[in-house]
Amino acid sequence: MVCVRTGVGIDSLPEQVLGSVDPVERVYRALEKIEEAKGLNAFITVDKEGALRSAEELKRRIRMGGKTGRLAGLLVAVKDNISTKGLRTTCASRMLENYVPVYDATVIERIRREDGIIIGKTNMDEFAMGSSTETSFFGPTKNFFDHSRVSGGSSGGSAVSLATGAVEIALGSDTGGSIRNPAAFNSIVGLKPTYGRVSRYGLIAYASSLDQIGPMARDTLSTALLLKVIAGGDPRDLTTSTRDPPDYVEEATSGAKGLRIGIVKEGFMNIDEKISGKVYDAIGVLEKTGCLVEEVSFPFLKYALPAYYIIAMAECSSNLARFDGIRYGGRSVEGKWEERVVKIRTEGFGEEVKRRIFLGTFVLSAGYKEDFYMKACRVRRKIHDDFKLLFKDFNALAMPTMPVLPWRIGGIVSPLEMYMMDFETVAVNLAGLPAVSVPAGFVNSLPVGLQLIGNHFEEATLLRLAYAYESETRFTSWLRSPT
């Protein structure tokens, strides 16, 4: 059942959305929930005043019988690497601890235009560089189901803010899995759109050829609704596609019967049988709804991870060169230019960010560029082409979202071991494809995610699958009673 006013699947939204149409009251309830779950550290900044101001304005408009937008009254959490005018945007870094953007990202403009109420900025890995939200300058975000474990990342705060019920929709960004990973680890829905489907204007860049902003929610239709609002061409981001996005909410409900799904064999190798078992079960549910399922092989997939890290680090070293503390993020320090910049960067960046800037500088340097960066770009082409071949026969590909369960905070010490956690997710970014993670049940009371990958601009196909699967499993109830 879909709410006429918002287009959201009301049977999957929490009671308070239905119980109250007063947006101001809804903001107060959300603030209470945020306060109750404060220990999980999902938010870096809560914008009480801003949210109340938006809610009061909306309330006045509703009372006067004025027109309201598609997100009217829905509470939105925004990852803290997306620029919000007048609201601190830190990238979870000391470097930007006091940075207040003077303009809104395009996605924020679009959410405001549709009357979504932004309640705060969520925790993340510093500059989105991490897979667990542990590299945040503001401390880790904790997993919703086990507070001693990681939330996943880098969009960990957005995922946890949804799981706690504080907000209905959230924005994340995904460079190598940063939307899908925390979605899987907190049993919610996270969709990484096609590269160019959503404007990156106002997203503080990590790796520009891989970064993509995307929607997260507890249920499929809310995810579809937020995607519809943020998708589309933007003259301020010339990599955006000008083709019109379809009505994702309507598309999502059109059934999945007859869609062909390829199970990527390599995605299930070397992972715990209990995890792969859950993912196979989830694919079984899709088969029951009328999808055609077949196993496929993607032997080159194993090269995606090293290629991804080479490219992401190369782009990061270039993107983060702008942080010299002079135009923004700066403090007043003494000394000549070189001394000032070194001091600001040394104190402002955390260890993982420094490691990536360093490696990126190395793989781009004379003598190594051809061997590392250019070779990785060739791997990228091959991965892209191999995906395209598979999409001649299939509407979607299925894999686990994560190869492991949420680990204990501080449990992974080696950087390389941490990078390996992205094995299932990075190929999608190299090829610029859309992918969604949906809840696939629990192992030892910890959540597992099913990842569905689509062809370019086939978000609607992924949402059809996700919705058909949700209708069978009612996975939104798992947040209250993990099974």
């Binding site: 070293s317 700066g330 360093f358 250019m374 791997v379 082409r381 390389l416």
Partner: protein
């Protein structure tokens, strides 16, 4: 081509300088260890022979041009809002040469 790349202590210091990051003694040691471990892993890609063109970004869009017309821009106040240090209408960066 497929030989192992090992980064020396001197190279760590050299690249850190290029990155404009200073490192303590303990950090140099840790970074060297991490970097060499990661580069060894990157070697799996380095030794591949691939007969395809490199792909720097996923295209699908052609060159986009627009009219070169003045449009609304940030106010002077906004431009300086997040500056580390400013002097009237100037960003203060510290002495560059000498």
């Amino acid at each position: 081509m497929s030989g192992k790349v090992v980064v020396s202590r001197e190279e760590i210091l050299h690249y850190a300088k290029l990155c404009k990051i200073s490192l303590s003694e303990a950090e140099v040691e840790k970074l060297q260890k991490d970097v060499n471990e990661i580069l060894e892993y990157f070697n799996t890609v380095r030794s591949l022979q691939l007969d395809v063109e490199p792909m720097a970004y996923v295209s699908g869009f052609s060159e986009v041009l627009r009219e070169d017309e003045p449009a609304e821009t940030l106010s002077e106040d906004d431009v300086f809002k997040n500056a580390g240090e400013k002097d009237e209408k100037w960003f203060v960066s510290g002495q560059v040469l000498g």
